[in-house]
Symmetry: C2
Amino acid sequence: MRRNMLSRKLSGFARLDDEDEALLNTISVRPRLYLKGEDVIGDGDVPDDVHLVLSGLACRYKLMADGERQITAYLIPGDFCDLHVAILDRMDHAIGALTETAVLDVPRQTIAALLARPNISRAMRLATLVDEATLRQWIVNLGRRSAVQSLAHLFCELRTRMESVGLVENNEFSLPISQKVLADTTGLSVVHVNRSLAELRKARLLAFSDGRMHILDAEGLDRLAGFEDDYLHLAGKSANSPADHV
Amino acid sequence: MRRNMLSRKLSGFARLDDEDEALLNTISVRPRLYLKGEDVIGDGDVPDDVHLVLSGLACRYKLMADGERQITAYLIPGDFCDLHVAILDRMDHAIGALTETAVLDVPRQTIAALLARPNISRAMRLATLVDEATLRQWIVNLGRRSAVQSLAHLFCELRTRMESVGLVENNEFSLPISQKVLADTTGLSVVHVNRSLAELRKARLLAFSDGRMHILDAEGLDRLAGFEDDYLHLAGKSANSPADHV
DNA sequence: CGTGTACTTGATTTAAATCAAGTTTGGTGG
DNA sequence: CCACCAAACTTGATTTAAATCAAGTACACG
């Protein structure tokens, strides 16, 4: 059986046994397609199912009173949109498709079954904490990094996350998003994003065209961005044993 | 028995019965004091116990390579520092005391006992989600709001959170932090924080001196900041019943 | 009393926004 | 097949919000 995206992602956080894997692979049914620009979940919605991104790219975002948009997270294959909402009253932000995106509706009882397996439960909790750590990194990005560094850091993050679910080949991955989207992510203007990208290209750190991101100098990009991948807590580097969890 | 801060906070998220309350109130032993500027937990630490803020004010922060600091969250009485770390390998940021702060070391097994009670468990998960929503708001703050709006939003947030644990009287609460701390929070320079504060004072929205914050015009401040308190998910406004949780 | 820390205020510089034209690309229909 | 159009991307000129530089003052504390 081909491993699905969720299984790929979670196995990066905890050792999963065959039974875990089998269970994870049973949930691959009935994906729903969203076109670029469509909302997967709207701000204020009270979704019934939990949503899992299978392919494509989505984002969390908030719309401001003046119509400006601020993106707060990218969702790549293997990410849950709203594990949260099972316990929250309603969404306090929206989820939008940045590209054509396949999303799986996972019934709550399936989630409950998954969480009943200790390894999977542990991996999912870890995934939630990584989401939180990523938000903190974004705050640092917006608060203390220059435009170029901020963009560089975003690309470092995406490269690493994409890699962890096997979507990077030859330091290259699909990223069919407009400069406006990057502006909404970094809090910059489109014009300035354009100039900053030009700078990154001129420095031969990356190539970005036709919806593909090619990292030419990963180390140089990391250095420029001050990127440290430890906050993503990848691979089995954990100091705690699986039995350790509260 | 006097209710402790944790009990006060959690009862805002879920209905707690007498037994829940009793259990929560048993953990009030042996608080540890930290002086202003001391680290409660350092970046990279692997803490054994979970830490609970009882009084004072602490913050999460990251130190940059150039020595700059970015604060990513404020921790007020009733907040946990590192419920996370029980499952994570090590801290990917530090916790520092912004004022003299009393912190309780809660052994993991006590946490486990608390989580075994459904209402408390639900309230704690909700608290975690609120932390995440707050991080998203900060991203919006840094990305899309002006200096004055950003500061205003921070004060709105603090007022609301302080209120929820009973630390606000007459729209006034203790906030003995320097303008440098506000600068490290908002990603601004100290000078600009100073001028922006002056603006907020001149607009008669607040008074801030001698370590006390007095909100003079709560509604005006909310309007300026674009503050909506729904992301804090306070009071029993939940659409889900306690039995609903996954 | 000095001395350091926090706060203020003014002058200057700078990073990024805004304004204003472009070009390039991809799609659509005649 | 080509004319037309709308996005997305570029590039240049100007403005602006905030940073930096530079001096102050007001205290608290030893």
